[in-house]
């Protein structure tokens, strides 16, 4: 009998500190598997954000740096320019990337820095206790939008993948989800393409991952997956928004 599935080498043996059913664990595993498969773990430097995944440096078995809130793309830019042979990725949530770090991500993408960004969009602030994020859906109830997000005063949810795909420096952008096995397999492919595009020196790559926050959404993990498919996917369509011809 042959082992056909095991924890990737690029993950440590430490158990994840995330809530039950949180998709961070799946996203971590997919990134780690991509690093294993490209054989780049020894030259990879990851940048973790502020948010639930701030402890990503405990779980990834490669060099990791923790950046100030939202500044992961700026730190990653510095690393990549100082060590151009290394593989650099950032792992950021929506509060980190789409709120406090909007300037950093937009300009890093616009400069076409050759890094990979893994962007976790769960439509809410996780670590701080479920406040409204820039990606919170219209009408969605959170701690700071108790009557639902009202676009008149709170604006509309930001579609990061679409917004950044208009920039010329960007090589690869796609949006995926993790709510069922078929989506997870597609997400794996997208993450591989993003790293491949970096390895081939094509420029900035980003994968937006729609994921759940069962704790702050107030749903069970299974209900949360259903909520994601019924509410988030219609607003945040899945697919590739920009692909260099060579990695398509």
């Amino acid at each position: 009998m042959k082992k056909v599935f095991e924890s990737p080498k690029s993950l440590t043996k430490d158990p994840f500190t995330y809530c039950p059913g949180c998709h961070h664990g799946i996203a971590h595993r997919l990134v780690a598997e991509a690093l294993d498969e490209f054989g780049v773990r020894e030259k990879t430097i990851g940048v973790c954000p502020v948010g639930c995944s701030v402890f990503a440096y405990v779980f990834f078995d490669c060099d990791m740096i923790c950046a100030a809130h939202g500044r992961a793309p700026a730190v990653a830019t510095g690393i990549k320019r100082a060590k151009p042979d290394s593989i650099v990725f950032t792992y950021q949530g929506d509060g980190d990337l789409a709120s406090i770090g909007t300037a950093e991500i937009v300009h890093t993408a616009n400069r076409g820095e050759n890094i990979t960004v893994i962007f976790i969009n769960n439509a809410i602030y996780g670590m701080t206790g479920g406040q409204m994020a820039p990606t919170t859906l219209v009408g969605q109830v959170t701690q700071t939008s108790p009557y639902g997000r009202d676009p008149k005063t709170m604006g509309y949810p930001i579609k990061v993948a679409e917004m950044l795909s208009t920039l010329k420096g960007v090589a690869y952008i796609s949006r995926v989800a993790l709510s069922k096995p078929a989506y997870i397999l597609k997400a794996k492919k997208a993450i591989r393409k993003a790293f491949q595009s970096q390895i081939e020196g094509k420029g900035f790559s980003l994968v937006e991952i729609l994921s759940t926050c069962p704790t702050n959404w107030g749903l069970s993990p299974i209900e949360a997956n259903k909520w994601l498919e019924e509410n988030m996917i219609p607003y945040y369509p899945l697919g590739e928004f920009k692909t260099p011809e060579e990695v398509s």
Binding site: V4, P20, G21, I26, K180, P181, L185, S220, N225
Partner: protein, 67 residues
């Protein structure tokens, strides 16, 4: 013939492996693990095809698959 190995102490009882399994042979055990969660358990192991869907869905990477 396929089999899965569940690391019961890593499992947080999120139940996501239950709808992921096409053979409907994943359940939650009645006992608790050290964290206080009901860990995942496979019933009818002879029906397992080793498709790995439970393992790729598991957010805690608690399942290994042999085929």
């Amino acid at each position: 013939m396929a089999k899965i190995l569940i690391d019961e102490e890593r499992c947080k009882g999120c139940e996501l492996c239950i709808p992921a399994c096409p053979k409907h042979i994943m359940v939650m055990a009645e006992y608790f693990n050290k964290k206080g969660y009901h860990p995942a358990k496979q019933i009818k192991p002879e029906e397992c095809t080793g498709c790995t869907f439970c393992a790729i869905t598991c957010p805690d990477v608690a399942i290994e698959v042999y085929k």
